[in-house]
Symmetry: C2
Subunit: 147 residues, 2 copies
């Protein structure tokens, strides 16, 4: 199994970061402007990029600490069986976010694309919380000329 | 073993990308402004960030296609035994770069930091080649407040 891993430090409280990861309003500031369904464990979040997937089920929440999703329904084939988690760690003047997208069956060009793209969105999350203006899709940074 | 993977598409020829990965002049436009020693297989490239490592030995070069380095000497402990490679693939209007930093013994906060930071530098490589102005250290994007 393969994983994508990232880590950023954000000048915001764990509570502020947690809100940005667990509410439609928060998620739409940094990943997909078109986000719906975020809520408690068991809820299905629908992220839409030009009208298409992915969906994730919320499978674990620990307030201000852990956010854990599993693929659900509408999903690129390579993402089937994968899980995404965010682990928050408070430091003196920032909150660290350790991001994992785990259980990839194989390493591939597409996995490389997704890893770089997740980095772009982690920086968008940081920017959203620190400046009030993230770069969610469709305002995201493009990493190649096919996007 | 764990790996970091990234992929970007750059509006430049494979020859231009290859030059940016195999010469002091090219490498200093996107990773570390203070770079020396780049050359043929067997050469030791010294990248300096505020006067400190890392060094990499060039272990494989295929013109306009593959650049492969192995850690050498001065290096963060977690990077010992790791290898970095860039694989270029020409497409219609861009050159794809598949980046790998392989053979990590464990997944860690530091690995997450490095993965996000490599993404920042892959975007710097893209920017350097497409606009003539990358963001090599010390002009790189900071991903936390300890850098």
């Amino acid at each position: 199994m393969y994983q994508i891993i990232h880590r950023v430090g954000i000048a915001a409280s764990p509570g502020e970061v947690y809100k940005a990861l667990t509410t439609d309003e928060g998620l739409s500031t940094w990943w997909a402007s078109d986000t719906s369904g975020a809520g408690e464990v068991g809820s299905i979040i629908q992220f839409r990029f030009n009208g298409e997937g992915p969906d994730f089920e919320v499978i674990e929440l620990v307030t201000d600490s852990i956010v854990h999703w599993r693929h659900s329904g509408n999903m690129p084939e390579a993402w089937m069986g994968t899980e995404v988690s965010f682990r928050l760690q408070a430091d003196e003047d920032q909150t660290y976010v350790l991001f994992l997208h785990e259980n990839w069956k194989q390493s591939s060009d597409f996995m490389g694309h997704c890893s770089t793209k997740w980095a772009v969105f982690m920086l968008s999350l940081k920017q959203a919380l620190e400046t009030g203006m993230g770069r969610p899709h469709p305002h995201d940074i493009h990493i190649d000329h096919d996007e």
